[in-house]
């Protein structure tokens, strides 16, 4: 087989894995958009905040150490203990639930019935706030996140493909784990929304706010629930991205990468988020390999996803699986 086909196959596999991670972030967007019509820009920062909190709890950092030191002149850094990864993840999940409650109480409650653009801006404001808050709470240095996930070259795939084609594929173990986790997460979410009482309420709210209210579903509870779930999804995404490239500010930028994924898939469709993520992941990697790097000077991954989504939307304005847009005067 010619080399370029093998490269392309390897890149496609890696693109699929990257796409799964994009889809993870996009999933949080879709959940919130469906349940409350809010386009939640803060999703990426939620992932960053979750990852920061996880590292902080795991290492036993003193929260706000920087601020306390600046105000009192002392030098606190760490508590004298470390917390096992699993417990730390549970604690972080609890923090995300508390955060969801606070967001609902302080922000969303007061913005009911506002225009979507105002809500969108509010989530950008929240993103700024959380970004600053996370840094003040845990420090802004680049942290490594290690919750015991396997990392590095998967030797089995490398050996097998070497025996088959004479060229070993490089697949990161972490990407495989991430894909498995993503599949589990989506399955769990689907089961939850199809078969549990809260899940049904969630779908009812997504269908029609007023009708849901009229049959006695508490909108506020649903919002807290859905922001908690989005926080949990953000935690998972934060763990995966954090293990891969360290916990730092750029983590919050994956939210921007999730936007074209959403556009491709449609804002209201969970399968759309996943398919969109895979298309974008594979598309940008293949484009970079075949056209970007040889002809355009590289780094096309920065914009390829957006341009693809833009071109795609011109032909299908509601995305792949979005609800058909019906406009009436």
């Amino acid at each position: 087989m010619p080399d370029i086909v093998l490269y392309a196959a390897e890149v496609t596999l890696n693109g699929l894995m990257a796409g799964v991670l994009y889809a993870l972030v996009a999933l949080g967007f879709v959940l919130i958009f469906k349940a409350s019509g809010i386009f939640n820009y803060a999703q990426g920062v939620l992932a960053l905040f979750a990852a920061l909190t996880l590292v902080g709890i795991q290492r036993g950092q003193v929260p706000f150490a920087h601020l306390i030191n600046a105000m009192t002149g002392k030098h606190y850094t760490n508590f004298p203990w470390e917390i096992p990864a699993l417990l730390a993840i549970l604690l972080t999940a609890a923090v995300m639930v508390v955060l969801a409650i606070i967001i609902e109480k302080l922000v969303l409650k007061h913005l009911v019935n506002q225009a979507p653009i105002i809500l969108f801006m509010a989530t950008i404001g929240m993103a700024y706030f959380l970004e600053g808050f996370g840094d003040v709470m845990w420090g802004s240095d680049i942290k490594t996140l290690d919750v015991g996930l396997p990392q590095g070259l998967n030797e089995m795939i490398d050996n097998t493909t070497y025996n088959w084609f004479g060229y070993g594929f490089f697949i990161d173990n972490l990407d495989i784990v991430a894909s498995v986790v993503a599949v589990l997460l989506v399955t769990a979410l689907t089961l939850f929304s199809q078969f549990s009482k809260q899940g049904r309420a969630l779908r009812a709210v997504a269908d029609d706010h007023q009708a849901a209210l009229s049959v006695g579903i508490s909108l506020r509870f649903i919002w807290i629930l859905v922001w908690s779930i989005a926080g949990f999804v953000a935690l998972v995404a934060g763990v995966m991205w954090g293990s891969k490239s360290g916990v730092q500010f750029s983590l919050s930028l994956i939210a921007l990468k999730a936007l074209p994924v959403l556009m491709l898939g449609g804002f209201t469709s969970i399968p759309g988020a996943i398919v969109g993520g895979l298309i974008i992941g594979v598309g940008e990697k293949l484009f970079e390999l075949l056209i970007g790097a040889p002809f355009l000077g590289g780094a096309t991954e920065n914009w390829f996803a957006y341009v693809l989504a833009l071109v795609f939307l011109v032909f299908r304005p509601q995305g792949l699986f979005g609800e058909k847009i019906i406009e009436r005067v």
Binding site: F39, I117, M126, F129, M263, N302, R328
Partner: protein, 358 residues
């Protein structure tokens, strides 16, 4: 007592359709112009010009531009940073290619080039609406920044990949380059802002502005009553990008002097200007000024308090500043979703009746 139309009789069509029909408004407007042109330049020094005045003037131009697109025509755009970069690189290429032409003309031409690019990226708005469009404009942001980074022609093959503004003069006074005085910078930007604001104000009062607002309120209904969505949306994109291009050109040539595209015109800039528009008030020229002033002054103020007075480390202060800006945006949206311009309108209503409110 002061602010009222009573007793202010119009005897000609010209008077009736003037920009500021109420006498108090008109006087205030001339007073502000007189102070801005006559008094401020006498006292301005380098610190005030670079930290407050020049960024305020330039951001106000950009905010007016974005406000036309988002506030008047209802097309949400997150590509402002990219369009500012077009203005900056256009003025750079023009300045280096035609050194004998006045910088003033270059800045206007840069606006024109940005308008053309804006129309190009505005074309999808005929099919894509709402948030889908907002995200689609991100394509402009990222693609343009990448383009200016990757194609050496745009930065004249300089080794650092930066663009540096050469020295240029107007009437023998330096307005770009290292020798520019604070006053020259300030006055140059002020002249541009005054022109832009006048054009914007009068465009939005007339036929064009009403078409934009009709499209904003409901584009299908507007189309049915005879507003052409193609020309209306594209003209909004063109005018808006024209102003944003001018802002980008000034931001690079007058304010920064040297720029690296990813840093100076990244996505953060798009959001910053969108914040100015939202906090100031959508669909209001005055709001653009107020929003720009607020978001330029706030960080300067916070930095002075936190670092200067309390003596905290700069990185901590930067994070707290992020928190406060983010928090304030949320508070603002909750308290007054129509922005500072709405507060101003309420104040004017009160003024009309004062001191006898019943």
């Amino acid at each position: 007592m002061f602010y009222r139309e009573a007793g202010d009789f119009k005897t000609s069509y010209g008077e009736d359709s003037q920009t500021f029909p109420i006498k108090f408004d008109r006087l205030r407007y001339f007073a502000v112009l007189a102070i801005a042109f006559g008094v401020v330049p006498l006292f301005i020094n380098d610190y005030w010009a670079n930290a407050v005045a020049v960024p305020f003037l330039i951001y106000a131009i950009a905010a007016i531009g974005l406000n036309i697109l988002v506030g008047y025509a209802g097309q949400v755009s997150l590509g402002t940073g990219g369009f500012m970069a077009v203005g900056a690189y256009a003025v750079y290429k023009l300045m280096t290619a035609f050194p004998e032409v006045s910088i003033f003309i270059h800045v206007i031409l840069a606006g024109g080039i940005t308008a053309a690019v804006g129309v190009l990226f505005g074309l999808p708005s005929l099919r894509i609406k709402g948030f889908y469009l907002a995200v689609a404009t991100l394509a402009a942001q990222f693609f343009l920044v990448w383009l200016f980074n990757k194609v050496p022609w745009f930065y004249n093959y300089s080794a650092s990949g930066q663009i540096n503004a050469p020295d240029r003069t107007i009437f023998g006074v330096f307005v770009t380059g290292a020798q520019t005085s604070a006053m020259a910078k300030y006055l140059f930007c002020l002249v541009m802002l005054t022109l832009v604001a006048l054009v914007a104000r009068n465009l939005t009062r007339g036929t064009v502005g009403r078409k934009w607002m009709a499209i904003r309120d409901m584009d299908i209904a507007a189309e049915i009553i005879g507003v052409n969505p193609l020309t209306t949306k594209l003209s909004a994109f063109a005018v808006s990008s024209f102003f944003i291009g001018i802002a980008g050109a000034l931001f690079f040539a007058v304010y920064l002097g040297a720029a690296e595209v990813g840093e100076a015109f990244g996505i953060q800039k798009s959001f910053l200007i969108l914040f100015m528009v939202i906090i100031g008030g959508l669909g209001s020229i005055f709001g653009s000024f107020a929003g720009a002033a607020f978001l330029v002054l706030l960080p300067v103020f916070l930095k002075n308090v936190l670092v200067g007075t309390l003596g905290w480390p700069t990185d901590l202060a930067a994070h707290i500043e992020l928190m406060i800006v983010g928090g304030l945006i949320v508070v603002f949206l909750i308290a007054e979703p129509h922005g500072l311009a709405q507060l101003w309108r309420v104040a004017k209503e009160k003024l009309r009746l004062w001191p006898f409110p019943h």
